[in-house]
């Protein structure tokens, strides 16, 4: 909280002279898959204020924060100030630096991108706008760009994890020490003759999603669980260390854009002996966007997650491979009418997530959105465990 206040004070003083812009969005989310069919009603009013100020020809400061009035699940209503982004930036001819709190999305595929691991997710705020369900990161971004190559390095001193609707109050969050600084690097380029864009990624840090461990087992912190303990042990949520090496490609062919993305994740359980920690794995996605007609774009992709150190004798929970199929459709017959549908199907456990919405711009700057996010599947499957959080939502957004 202290760093949030400091950032706000620092940037607000510079930005007070600028003309603010942003939006006010009010939404109502109805839980529709509970036993009594109306599991919950969440309401919120989000006012986002964005401030931007040029500092000379190459510098700028940006501050963006939310005033969020929210009634979430069964909690009492709250008014929160949430920093969305707050950073200073210098962009020279080739060299750039950005420091503060910012977003950095990696990869080519929304929702299922293996390399998009810098920004944590906020699964409690799913809506039509991506900034509602992603969390920006504190860091320093150094970049270098030339005609043929772009390089970026992110140094992230404060760990932030994803937020899920389920209670994970027993989490163990890493301390803010020098040795805990996360590093993310990206190298990008284009093979001009054929129009092939490529990116290489490296990340050394911690998983944004928790693994579960016994904090005080008899044989060490991360020892495998064997036998039946005499008393049920306390389980903690633990954000394990991981290293990621990734790559992606995209190339347009006629009205198709082909995309391929893959990454290798080296997790803490390097030998695959601990059933509570995710084993090292490859994650690959391939697919295409197809402009069927100028107003309709269809995207199809297939994702394979394959554990490289899978030991069937020890790990009886999962499978060596997980296969996903994704489908997305965007139809915009008019600039004021927009329909989108994104669906992910986990082929092995037959669970599904579906997000769809239709937005109508009533007049310029005022948009009404109706949408749904639904989860299907048996208990404890990839998406089935979120079934009770399925919802329909209505949003009204006014921009200023």
């Amino acid at each position: 909280m202290k760093k949030i206040v400091l950032l706000l004070i620092f940037f607000s003083s510079t930005l007070l002279a600028t003309e603010p812009h942003g939006f006010v969005k009010t939404s109502i989310n109805l839980g529709v898959r509970g036993d009594n069919k109306l599991k919950f009603i969440n309401t919120n009013v989000r006012t986002q204020i964005n401030l931007y100020q040029d500092l000379g020809e190459n510098g700028s400061v940006t501050a963006s924060f939310d005033l969020l009035y929210e009634k979430y699940m069964n909690s009492t209503p709250e008014l929160k100030i949430i920093p969305v982004e707050t950073y200073a930036q210098y962009s020279g001819k080739n060299f750039g630096i950005k420091a503060g709190k910012y977003y950095d999305f990696w990869g080519l595929f929304d929702w299922i991108s293996p390399t998009d691991i810098l920004d944590p997710w906020d699964m409690t705020h799913i809506s039509s706008d991506i900034e509602d369900y992603r969390i920006s990161i504190y860091g320093i971004n150094l970049s270098y760009g030339s005609d043929i190559l772009n390089a970026e390095i992110n140094l992230l001193p404060f760990f932030q994890h994803s937020i899920f609707p389920m209670d994970i109050s027993t989490e163990e969050v890493p301390s803010n020490q020098l040795k805990e600084i996360e590093i993310g690097a990206k190298l990008s380029g284009i093979a001009e003759k054929i129009g092939l864009d490529w990116d290489l990624y490296y990340f050394r840090g911690r998983d944004r999603n928790p693994s579960r461990i016994y904090p005080n087992p008899p044989a060490g912190n991360l020892a495998p669980v064997t036998g039946t303990p005499s008393t049920p042990p306390l389980i903690k949520e633990y954000y394990q260390k991981l290293t990621m090496y990734g790559i992606d490609f995209s190339i347009p062919v006629s009205s198709l854009l082909f995309k391929l993305e893959g990454a290798y994740f080296l997790t803490e359980d390097r030998k695959g002996n601990n059933p509570l920690i995710e084993n090292p794995y490859f994650s690959t996605v391939g697919g295409f966007d197809w402009s069927v007609i100028p107003t309709l774009t269809l995207s199809l992709s297939y994702k394979l997650k394959s554990y490289t150190k899978f030991n069937k004798k020890i790990d009886t929970r999962g499978r060596k491979n997980n296969n996903f199929f994704t489908f997305s459709l965007k139809y915009q017959p008019k600039d004021y009418l927009n329909f989108q549908w994104i669906s992910i199907y986990q082929i092995d456990d037959k669970s599904t997530m579906s997000l769809s919405f239709i937005s109508y711009s009533i007049i310029d700057d005022y948009t009404l959105t109706l949408g749904e996010i639904l989860f299907y599947g048996k208990n404890q499957t990839t998406y089935g465990k979120f079934t009770d959080y399925s919802e329909v939502f209505v949003e009204l957004k006014g921009s200023f």
Partner: protein, 259 residues
Amino acid sequence: MKWEKFSIVVSAVLFLTGFTRGQDMRDFMAKVFRQSTWNSMSADMTLTIIDSREEKRIREVKFFSKKDKNGNNRMLMKFIRPREVMGTSFLLLEHKNREDDRYLYLPALRRVKRIVASGKKGNFMSSDFTYYDIGEPKPDDFKYKYLDEEEFKGVKCIKVEATPASERVLNDTGYSKIIYWVDPEKKIILKAEYYDDRGKLQKILNINEHKLINGVYFATDIVMKDVQINHISRIKFTNIKINEKMPERYFSVKHLRRR
């Protein structure tokens, strides 16, 4: 006096006879297109879209365009209005021998996304203009035929019919025919009719104003009406700079994020 009249008539006959030959007509239209072609251009653009219920929607964009070393067009647009899309940027890099590259920076996503090309017949900013309409015309994409003369807005114009030179052009543009009204003196287009791939009149273009800037006749007020759906789009340019110095980095993916 008689000789003067006679020479005018002879000249006119020769002029028109010349135009009946396809190659001459092609060369004439190449000159017309060249008159309105720039190496680099920046301007503030206001696009007004009026639908069949006469409801208006206004978009304001900062527009930059520059040719690369191979003569390919590059186009950068930064959206200012409506506020909802403020900060959105669009980069179009044309290529002669392969698909165009299109990149979109959406401030909500904070990410540059490479987007799939919808072809030249895709609507530009959901208006009645297509990407082909706003791009630099390529004389060899069409075959030209002189039709006749017709007065338009007090100017005795030459009417020229353009038909696609190949199936590819027909598919790319969606036009089976374009008829131009050309001011033969200034060699600028004042009006055009666009016929869809079934041969039906689809759109009418009126250019209300040209300004001569740095040797280029620049259309500053353009109205396109889709007569099939009764939909109108008007583009007005202000603060126009032609063939002035423009940094190369404007047309890089990295620059899209900058305001």
